[in-house]
Amino acid sequence: MKRIKVIFFLTLALTAGCFICQPAMAQDELLSLLDDIKTKPEKVRNTWKSTRVINAQSSEQLSKGVLDFRVLHRFGFINSGPSEVFGLDQASIRLGLDYGLTEWLSVGFGRSSFKKELDGSIKVKPIWQTKGSGSFPFSVTLVAGMTMNTMKWENPERNNYFTSKLAYFYEGIIARKFSDGISVQLSPIMVHRNFVDLAVDEHDVWALGLGTRIKLSKRVSVNLDYFILKPGRTASLYSNPLSIGFDVETGGHVFQLHFTNATGMNERAFITETTGEWLKGDIHFGFNISRVFTIGGRKHKSERS
């Protein structure tokens, strides 16, 4: 009998307790009733404002169905003096199109006025930096490309092969967005040239790229990209390409204004043929304009179910 009484009072106390607590809880934390959703690791996006740091490919991948039209322009060397309006009389351009086929795969095509060169590339981003539970600290992007010189043969009397016009490059990009304001990438690259002028010239040129971005405001950042050539014949004859500039984003456009010692705007040209030296004032003022268009792939999703 006593035991039953104890059980009864215990039950009563518990029930009353629940009854009192519940409305209070319900008022405050209704949503806590749902909080058993597991959070998946989330992809870190917008490591860079565009697909190039300045000259170098960045780890940024175009979204699916996005076409990026890029106009790259370099004036002449600043040290060419007042008669050349400090380089403004000269111009070298590259027009390019990049397209995002999927979230992790994009293709690019371009033509440079320097050496009348065509270039094409494939960019794959298999590993994304993520955050949240089970996060991954950096992203890995791979770029493979090809360039083709379309100028007339220098020595037409010689037996020239079509393949002599071609060069290839392979690049890996390891990038991390440390915070909203700071992104850094390391990018080893190898450029293979089928044809070189002299027998002693290197067919394969290796370099290590370093890129960084520091945001000054939501829409403006300072960017730097630099390649250190592997010591060798090319490194001793040519300079390491260094570019410093600003990214300014205005809605659908990104303007990149910068100073660089590299004249070429594809990987073969700026890695293996940068002649300008910063300390001598061989600096180009240049700009890149990126304009993106959404072509397809994403359906409009506003229709309600």
Binding site: F19, L31, E249
Partner: protein, 189 residues
Amino acid sequence: MKKKIIKKWLLIPILLLSIISAHGQGKYFTRSGNVTFNAGTSLEKIEAINRKAASVLDATGGQLEFTVLIKAFEFERALMQDHFNENYMESDKFPKASFKGNIVNNSDVNYAKNGSYPVQIKGDLTIHGVTKPVTVKGGIEVKDGKINASSAFEITITDYNISIPGVVKDKIDKQASIQVDLVYEPLNK
């Protein structure tokens, strides 16, 4: 005699427990509510939909809460979605928008009977880390145990500390319209 007493003693807690479970049945939830956002102008279409709004409605007292992940808003254009998150909503800093409030005329709604009822909802809306009191009109439709709730209202973007730069000033409507459509199911807890 003994048996009778035991029955009596046990009856009271059982009764109390049953009241609690009845109380629990007054709650409804959804995890797949739709929230659309439109701040477009004639110059630019700025429209997004979020299909993952989570909400709980306590029919007994009319309390209502809902929350959306800002990153789950889908735009037609990927770049616009990036800018929405990165430049305007700062969704890394403020990942969620939420609402917490009451149905003012909750007593007018009969949750047990099919029918539609106009309601007024009053509460606090938090966007971009800024909380503002709001009162909006909406509708509740009860249909076979499910509850459809909807509401359309406007918010002034600058009220929530979201800055719009001069370059795009003419493209963005300062009065964004929000449309909320929720299909609640009974919460069994």
